[in-house]
C-alpha cells in the first residue's frame, strides 16, 4: 500500500482512494455489485425481448384470447410493467441491504485516511 502512495504522491485524494481500491472491503463491494447487476440486466433484457420476438414470430399465439377480449399478447405486455416494478423493488431492497452499509463503511474509512494524511 505504501508503494501505491509513493507512486501517486502528487495528490492525497487520489492516493487515499487508490489505497481503498485494493481494500478487501472494496473488493467485496465490487464483487457484490457485479454479481447482482449483470444477471439482473440479463434477466430483464431477455424477458423484455421475448415480447417483441413473440410478437414477430407468433402473432397467432399473441392474439389468442385468454379471457374476454384480453389477448395473451396484451397480458404479456402488461406483465412487463409488473416485471419492471418488481425488479426495481428487488434491486432497491437489495442495494439498501447489501450495498449501502458497506459503501458507507468504506467512505468513512477513507475519509479518516485522508484526514490523517493531510495532517502528516
Amino acid at each position: 500500500m505504501a508503494d501505491v502512495r509513493r507512486d501517486l504522491a502528487t495528490d492525497e485524494a487520489v492516493t487515499a482512494t487508490e489505497a481503498v481500491g485494493r481494500d478487501p472491503e472494496m473488493v467485496e463491494l465490487e464483487r457484490r455489485h457485479r454479481r447482482f447487476v449483470w444477471p439482473a440486466t440479463a434477466f430483464f433484457l431477455i424477458y423484455y425481448l421475448a415480447l417483441n420476438v413473440l410478437a414477430g414470430t407468433s402473432p397467432d399465439l399473441m392474439g389468442t384470447k385468454l379471457f374476454g377480449e384480453f389477448t395473451f399478447g396484451y397480458l404479456f405486455a402488461l406483465s412487463q410493467f409488473v416485471m419492471a416494478f418488481v425488479v426495481a423493488w428487488v434491486y432497491t431492497s437489495w442495494a439498501k441491504r447489501r450495498i449501502d452499509p458497506l459503501a458507507a463503511d468504506l467512505r468513512e474509512k477513507l475519509q479518516h485516511t485522508r484526514i490523517k494524511e493531510a495532517g502528516e
Partner: protein, 535 residues
C-alpha cells in the same frame, strides 16, 4: 364564435395559465436558479417527477395513442419498451453516474480520458441526439396547431411547424432557463391529471368494461381480432427486435435524462428518483391503452387520419368526442388536452435544448476552444446561440418529417442515443482497459452509423421515403438499432484494443471507488478539472 375560434381561445388561455404557473413557481423557489449549476439539493421524489416530465414527450402522449388507434396492439409495444428502459437506467447507470459526474454526460468520460477529444465527441452526440428528438416534438406541435387552427394543405402544415417551433425556442432561449425544471414538474402533473381524467371518461363510456372497449375498437378498426394482436404495423421479427433494443437501451444514453441525476445529493436519492419515475411513467404508459383503443372505438380511424396522417391527433380528438363534439364541452376538453400536449412538448423542448446547448457551451466551447479558461458571460452567450441554431435545424428537418408518427421519430432518437452514448458510458463505468481512442471511435461510429442507416433506410430513401423514391432503400429496417447499437459497442471495443494508448487504470480504480461508495463525489463539484495521467 366558431368552434375553431373557441377551441383556440380556450387553448391560449390554458397555455398562458400554465406558463404563468411555471414562472410563479420558479420565483417561489430560490434553489431553481442553481438547479443546473450546483444545487444537488433536489429531493429524490421531485427529481423523479422532473424526470417523468422530461421523458413523457409528444411521442408518449400523441404518438403512442395514435399508433394504437391506427394499428392496435403494435402501438402498445412502444409503451412497454419505454418503461422497461428505466431498469437499464436504475441498475446500470443512475447511481454510478451520480457519483462520478458534475454537469454534463461528458464528465463521466472526461474523468478517466483525455478531456478535449472525449468532450468534443460527447458534445457532438448530445447535439445529434437532441436534434433528432426535437424534430419529433416539432412535428407533434405542428400537427396540434394545424388541428386547432383548422389549417389544410402542406404550406399551412409547414407554417404551423415553423411558427410553433420559433415560439418554443424563443421561450426556452430568452425566458425559460430558470423555469425549465418547473415546466417539467407542472407539465408532469398536468399530463398525469389530463390522462387520468381522459382514461376515466373513456372507461365510463364503455360502462367500465375493458372488454367492451377492446371489442368496440376491434370492430371500429375494420380489422376485427387482428387489431388486438401484433402484426398490423410491424410484420418482421428483426424490425421488432431492432425497435425493442433501441427503446430499452436508449434511455440510459439520453443526455437530458442523465444530467437529471446530478441534481440530487446522493446515490440513494438518484435511486429513489428512478423509482419515482418508474411509478409515474409506468402508470402513464398503462393508460395509453385507454387513449389508443378508446380513440379507435370512439373517434374512428377515418377522422384520425384526416386530422393527421400518422395518427398524432388521436388523443386530442378523443377528448373532443368525449366532451361532446360540436358542443362547448367538446371544445373545452379539446382545448384542455391540446394545452396539456403543448405543455408536454414545451417542457421536453426546453429540457432537450438546454441540455444540448449547455453541453456544447460547457464541453466544447469552454473546455475545448477556450481550454478551460473561465468566461461565464461568453459561455452563456454561446449556449443561447447554440439553442437558436439547434432549434432552427430541428424546425427545418421537422418540416420534412411531418406526416410521420411522433413515437416512431422518437424511436429513432433512442436508437441514436443507444448507439452513440450507451457503449461509451457503460465501458467508462465498467471496463478497466477502456481508453480515449475507444471512447471517441465508439461515439463517432455509433452516431454516424445510426444516422446514416436512417438516411438510407425506408423512411428517407425509396418508394415510401423523401428522396430517391425511384430506387429501393439501401437498408431494409426502419429502426437501425439492431445493427447500429452493436456497431457502437464494437467500435468502442476495437478502438480501445487497437490503439497503442494505455488506459489510465489508476483513474479507473478511483472512478470505481468514487462511483460505488460516493467517496469524493461531493468534492467533484469544486475540484479543478484535473487532466488524467497522460500516458
Amino acid at each position: 364564435m366558431s368552434d375553431q375560434a373557441l377551441s383556440l381561445t380556450l387553448f391560449t388561455v390554458f397555455v398562458l395559465v400554465t406558463l404563468g404557473i411555471t414562472i410563479w413557481a420558479s420565483r417561489q423557489t430560490k434553489t431553481a436558479a442553481d438547479f443546473y449549476a450546483a444545487g444537488r439539493r433536489i429531493h429524490g421524489w421531485q427529481n423523479g417527477v422532473a424526470i417523468s416530465g422530461d421523458y413523457m414527450s409528444a411521442a408518449s402522449f400523441l404518438g403512442i395513442a395514435g399508433l394504437i388507434a391506427l394499428f392496435g396492439y403494435d402501438g402498445f409495444l412502444y409503451s412497454v419498451g419505454w418503461l422497461v428502459a428505466y431498469l437499464t437506467v436504475l441498475i446500470l447507470v443512475a447511481e454510478l453516474l451520480r457519483n462520478s459526474g458534475k454537469y454534463t454526460m461528458a464528465d463521466v468520460l472526461a474523468f478517466r480520458m483525455r478531456q478535449r477529444p472525449v468532450r468534443s465527441a460527447a458534445a457532438l452526440s448530445t447535439v445529434g441526439v437532441s436534434i433528432v428528438y426535437l424534430i419529433a416534438q416539432m412535428v407533434g406541435a405542428g400537427a396540434l396547431m394545424k388541428l386547432l387552427l383548422g389549417l389544410e394543405g402542406d404550406t399551412a402544415a409547414i407554417g404551423a411547424i415553423v411558427g410553433v417551433g420559433v415560439l418554443m425556442i424563443v421561450y426556452v432561449t430568452f425566458g425559460g432557463m430558470i423555469g425549465t425544471t418547473w415546466v417539467q414538474i407542472v407539465k408532469a402533473i398536468l399530463l398525469m391529471a389530463g390522462t387520468v381524467l381522459l382514461s376515466f371518461l373513456v372507461l365510463a363510456k364503455f360502462g367500465f368494461s375493458m372488454n367492451k372497449m377492446f371489442a368496440d375498437a376491434a370492430t371500429a378498426s375494420g380489422k376485427g381480432d387482428a387489431f388486438l394482436a401484433p402484426g398490423l404495423r410491424f410484420d418482421s421479427t428483426i424490425e421488432l427486435v431492432s425497435l425493442g433494443l433501441a427503446l430499452v437501451l436508449g434511455t440510459a444514453g439520453l443526455p437530458h435524462i442523465l444530467i437529471r441525476f446530478y441534481t440530487v445529493p446522493t446515490a440513494q436519492a438518484a435511486r429513489r428518483s428512478v423509482n419515482w419515475a418508474i411509478g409515474i411513467i409506468g402508470s402513464f404508459y398503462i393508460m395509453t391503452t385507454f387513449l389508443g383503443f378508446g380513440a379507435a372505438a370512439l373517434v374512428g380511424q377515418a377522422r384520425i387520419r384526416e386530422a393527421d396522417e400518422a395518427g398524432n391527433m388521436a388523443g386530442p380528438l378523443l377528448a373532443e368526442v368525449i366532451g361532446g363534439q360540436g358542443t362547448f364541452g367538446g371544445d373545452l376538453f379539446l382545448a384542455f388536452i391540446a394545452a396539456v400536449a403543448f405543455a408536454t412538448i414545451l417542457a421536453v423542448v426546453a429540457g432537450l435544448t438546454i441540455t444540448a446547448s449547455s453541453s456544447f457551451a460547457h464541453d466544447f466551447y469552454a473546455n475545448v476552444i477556450r481550454r478551460g479558461e473561465r468566461d461565464e458571460a461568453a459561455e452563456v452567450k454561446v449556449a443561447r446561440m447554440t439553442a437558436l441554431v439547434i432549434g432552427a435545424i430541428a424546425i427545418v428537418l421537422a418540416s420534412f418529417a411531418r406526416g410521420q408518427n411522433v413515437a416512431f421519430l422518437v424511436g429513432l432518437a433512442f436508437a441514436v442515443a443507444a448507439s452513440a452514448n450507451l457503449p461509451t458510458i457503460l465501458f467508462s463505468l465498467y471496463w478497466k482497459r477502456f481508453n480515449t481512442t475507444g471512447a471517441v471511435t465508439g461515439i463517432l461510429v455509433g452516431l454516424v452509423g445510426s444516422l446514416l442507416l436512417v438516411v438510407v433506410g425506408p423512411n428517407v430513401m425509396g418508394p415510401e421515403g423523401l428522396i430517391l423514391t425511384g430506387s429501393d432503400p439501401l437498408f431494409p429496417l426502419e429502426n437501425p438499432g439492431i445493427v447500429s447499437i452493436p456497431l457502437g459497442f464494437l467500435a468502442a471495443w476495437l478502438g480501445t484494443v487497437l490503439s497503442s494508448e494505455k488506459a489510465s487504470e489508476e483513474r479507473y480504480e478511483e472512478l470505481r471507488v468514487r462511483a460505488l461508495t460516493g467517496l469524493g463525489a461531493e468534492e467533484a463539484e469544486v475540484a479543478p478539472a484535473k487532466a488524467p495521467a497522460r500516458t
